[in-house]
């Protein structure tokens, strides 16, 4: 097989390529989106099935358990709740990634916001009306997340310092500061474990009537829609896109690059902070020291799968939320570690890279298939040889 394909791969392709007619362009673009986004997920699920078989588990049972635990009956509501912080972080990352800025400090931004509102929350809800207290807490979390991006933002805007390094460093500091706050001033004096006081259930985010879904989910959806609108329809969004696609062009056409860098960082940090508020005020009600859900790490592959599109992020995040909610049940039933779900995410990333590579070849005028593979599929002689 390999011998045969290399033979044909070396044969010269001298036929000039036909230009793609504009009418086919739209269809092929749409196909492109499907191929690049959904195929990696399907391939990962397929590879996951093979892995399950190798481990002696039944993949059909496993995936149907995921469905049972993530969607059926009222399980979809749990999935929706789980999706809220993920979606807010994903959208926050879309904003900066579009500008080719890598805010990787989401863990610090998230935990700092979470620690601040779990510390201040019990006091605020006691003294203020519930809606005002919750609104203030959302603002505090968002503000904390935004403020924590300020140092990397200014360094990048002023000195072009690499933000991957600075945001990561600030993230470690943020996680540390959050833990100090939880063990220090915000420590619940009535317990021995390092954690904050617990918000009373009736003071947390209200649910949508008839469901368990808290309104943080709506906040997340609204944020995704708003960000999508801003990125695609406004001058700010276009400037951001230009900065991301070609920073030298941005400077050339008169975009005020430093200001734009700081702005996009602040918006990103704000959204990550809001994710903390939605998660703490909607789901947990308190924070324990050394708790780090690392939502951002899980969500990054989906941000890329969604091609940095804030709307397209929604189905992917929902997909992951279902996978992880249902996966709790499925892995338990199959007596596997929940880490198996991370294996699935990793497989998605892997296949995404492969498809991306093939897609780039195609963008250069070639096909998704390598020439050797193409020949092998086309030529009946070869098919005979491989089967013989």
């Amino acid at each position: 097989m390999t011998g045969a394909t290399t033979d044909t791969a070396l044969s010269p392709e001298t036929r000039p390529l036909e230009p793609i007619a504009p009418s086919h362009r739209f269809v092929s673009d749409a196909l492109d989106v499907v191929v690049r986004s959904i195929v990696p997920v399907l391939l990962a699920l397929g590879a996951g099935a093979i892995l399950l078989l190798a481990l002696g588990r039944d993949p059909i049972t496993f995936y149907s358990n995921v469905w049972k635990g993530g969607i059926q009956l009222t399980a979809w509501q749990d999935s929706a709740i789980r999706a809220a912080p993920l979606l807010l972080i994903a959208v926050g990352l879309v904003v900066v990634f579009r500008a080719n800025i890598w805010n990787l400090g989401y863990n610090g931004q998230f935990l700092l916001g979470a620690a601040l509102i779990s510390g201040l929350g019990p006091h605020l809800v006691a003294s203020e009306p519930r809606w005002l207290a919750l609104l203030l807490l959302f603002l505090v979390a968002g503000g904390a997340g935004a403020a924590w991006t300020l140092v990397p933002a200014l360094l990048k805007a002023r000195y072009e310092t690499n933000e991957i390094i600075t945001t990561l460093m600030m993230s470690f500091i943020g996680v540390g500061v959050a833990n100090i706050l939880i063990k220090g001033p915000f420590q619940d004096p009535s317990v021995n474990i390092p954690q904050t006081r617990v918000l009373p259930l009736n003071k947390m985010l209200p649910s949508i009537p008839g469901t368990r879904i808290h309104i943080g989910v709506l906040v997340a959806l609204a944020a995704a829609l708003l960000v999508h609108f801003v990125l695609t329809r406004t001058s700010f969004g276009l400037r951001l896109q230009i900065l991301g696609a070609n920073p030298r062009a941005a400077r050339h056409v008169g975009v005020k690059v430093p200001r734009l860098i700081v702005m996009s960082f602040l918006v990103s940090g704000l959204l990550v902070g809001l994710a903390a508020a939605a998660d703490i005020l909607g789901t947990w009600g308190y924070v324990r020291a050394n708790w780090n859900p690392a939502y951002g790490d899980t969500v990054i592959p989906f941000v890329f799968l969604a091609r940095l599109n804030a709307l397209a992020v929604i189905p992917f995040v929902v997909f992951y939320a279902v996978l992880s909610t249902g996966g709790d049940l499925a892995t338990q039933q199959a007596s596997l570690s929940t880490d198996f779900l991370l294996v699935l995410v990793a497989l998605i990333l892997l296949f995404m890279t492969v498809i991306e590579y093939l897609g780039r070849r195609r963008a250069l005028g070639a096909s998704y298939l390598t020439p050797g593979l193409q020949q092998a599929l086309r030529s009946p002689r070869l098919r005979r040889r491989t089967s013989a």
Partner: protein, 569 residues
């Protein structure tokens, strides 16, 4: 034998010289072309390409190219950008491997799969852009190519340099830092480097693009010396008059194919006009008529000059720079030092100079992309140095960048948006921060039509367009909505001649319509073709002014060189 090569370079060269003498003796004069079938390997042409084909994704760069280069001839490859010249020399110099075809060097079929292999076969290449390490001396640069043995034999290398320099008929200071040499001298070092190991074939890729007229004359002398020693030269150019000046034979490429050749007899036998007409027809086929007036295709550059604008002294000054300075940028741009100039209505003012002498700073300072450290810029008498890019754009002060792919367009955005990149957020294309798709599209359609941008649609990604069409997009953006003063930085660099002709007509049209153009170019022919007055920029300073007229080219060249010497001293 190889091991001894470097240790005793003179002896080896003696051998080569006798070889070439023997070869000459073996061939009865005049029979060279007559008995091709019976020749023995020693008579074989220096290089022979047979059926070379190279396909890149989406483009057939070389299509069945066959070519013969004889000993001791200067063989010109002439063709527009994209005709396949560069691919062909990349194949010969071992940078690219052909999909099909044969290469024979000295009659022997060879595989050239690396630049080193090319050198081993005696094929040396001088690329368009310098490959010298600026901080090292000439001698050190030459020693960089030596890979045999651990010890560097500096004295032998010095002797070899003197010897090759003598062959070329030039003087090269072995201990001068390469970066401090004039560009013409640097090119000579590159030629020495290419001949270092006794190459018999020398490839020169667009060798005159960086040279002053004086440098070009000196290069021609070097070429004559090389011919006398029996070395074959493959000379790549897109300028017709250069090809006619140096070539023994000319091969014309178009769209990856050989479309014709002019033999020595024809070059010597017929008049310049006849040959020129024939070449233009070969290069462009049907379109020959449309491009025949472009400077690159004329042989009589000094005779016909752009008309001087008689009324210039009375015309209003549109743009005035007084003692403008700007800080240097990295190691590439020396910034500006007290640059003063005035640009009058209807004028096309040229800025000549070698690359990296402050051209970019000058353009960006005027456009508002770079802050000035001192001085004043006035547009219609009003100071504008505090205004940003889009404010100046709105006032009619425009900048057509030389780096059209790098910063002129955003290749992932559609053509329509690229046309309005400098008006983001402005009415009527944006209202309250929201884009008005309908007015953007309507205006984009009419701009695409007016500037003849060949694009499948206005929603096509700008990066999918050809170089010429990208330039038209940039021009449409900068020359629409009442342009008054436009800075053109290398406006036709890398464009095919049809587009070049169109762009120059646009520049003339702008000046005729009451605007003014500042044309920055490293191509002296272009400036002589367009401008009434040419200023020379060197080391970030204006070092002189030349009125266009007879011998203007020489005087500009002298200024470029003279100032360079002063700066180095």
């Amino acid at each position: 034998m190889r091991g001894g090569r470097f240790g005793r370079p003179p002896r080896r060269d003696e051998r080569l010289r006798t070889e070439s003498l023997n070869r000459k003796a073996a061939i009865p004069t005049g029979s060279q072309s007559g008995r091709e079938s019976e020749r023995d390997p020693a008579d074989a042409p220096a290089v022979e390409l047979v059926g070379i084909t190279k396909q890149f994704p989406g483009v057939l760069a070389n299509d069945d190219i066959s070519l013969t280069v004889r000993h001791g001839e200067v063989h010109c490859l002439l063709g527009e950008n994209g005709a396949g010249k560069s691919t062909l020399i990349s194949i010969l110099s071992g940078m690219v491997r052909p999909d099909a075809g044969e290469i024979r060097v000295g009659g022997r079929m060879v595989q050239i799969d690396s630049p080193r292999a090319a050198l081993e076969l005696g094929v040396g290449t001088v690329y368009q852009h310098s490959t010298l390490v600026r901080a090292l001396t000439v001698l050190e640069n030459l020693l960089l190519g030596e890979t045999r043995g651990l010890r560097l034999d500096v004295e032998a290398a010095r002797a070899r340099l003197a010897e090759v320099a003598a062959t070329l008929g030039v003087e090269i200071d072995a201990d001068a830092p390469a970066g401090e040499l004039a560009l013409g001298r640097q090119q000579q070092v590159e030629i020495v480097k290419a001949l270092w190991r006794g190459s018999r074939v020398l490839i020169l890729d667009e060798p005159t693009s960086m040279l002053t007229p004086q440098g070009v004359a000196e290069l021609q002398k070097v070429l004559r010396r090389l011919k006398e020693t029996g070395i074959s030269v493959i000379f790549i150019t897109h300028k017709l008059h250069e090809a006619l000046a140096v070539a023994d034979r000319i091969t014309i490429l178009r769209a990856g194919r050989v479309v014709g050749a002019i033999e020595t007899a024809e070059l010597e036998g017929s008049s310049a006009e006849e040959v020129q007409g024939r070449i233009v027809r070969l290069m462009f086929g049907e379109d020959a008529r449309a491009v025949a007036d472009v400077a690159e295709l004329r042989t009589d550059l000094e005779g016909e000059q752009a008309p001087l604008d008689e009324q210039r002294s009375e015309a209003a000054t549109l743009l005035a720079l007084s003692r403008v300075s700007a800080r240097p940028v990295g190691g590439f741009d020396p910034g500006l030092e007290e640059v003063s100039l005035e640009l009058a209505e209807g004028e096309i003012l040229g800025i000549a100079g070698m690359d990296g002498n402050g051209q970019r700073s000058l353009a960006e300072v005027i456009a508002g992309e770079r802050a000035l450290s001192a001085g004043e810029i006035r547009l219609y008498g009003v100071p504008v140095e505090r205004l940003d890019v889009s404010a100046r754009q709105k006032l009619g002060l425009r900048y057509v960048t030389d780096d059209r792919l790098g910063e002129g367009i955003v290749s992932s955005l559609p053509v329509s948006l690229n046309l309005f990149l400098k008006r983001i957020g402005q009415r009527p294309f944006w209202r309250h921060g929201r884009i008005e798709h309908r007015s953007v599209e309507r205006e984009a359609q009419s701009l695409v039509k007016a500037f003849d941008v060949r694009t499948p649609s206005i929603s096509t990604r700008a990066g999918a367009l050809s170089g010429g069409n990208v330039q038209k997009v940039v021009l449409a953006r900068e020359l629409s909505f009442e342009p008054k003063v436009v800075v053109f930085n290398k406006p036709t660099y890398g464009l095919d001649l049809r587009t070049t002709s169109t762009v120059r007509d646009m520049i003339r049209g702008l000046a005729r319509g009451g605007g003014a153009a500042l044309v920055i170019s490293t191509d002296l022919d272009e400036l002589l073709d367009l401008c009434g007055r040419i200023l020379v920029l060197s080391g970030g300073r204006l070092v002189g002014e030349v009125e266009n007229g007879p011998n203007a080219g020489e005087r500009v060249g002298e200024l470029m060189v003279g100032a360079g010497d002063v700066a180095a001293a």
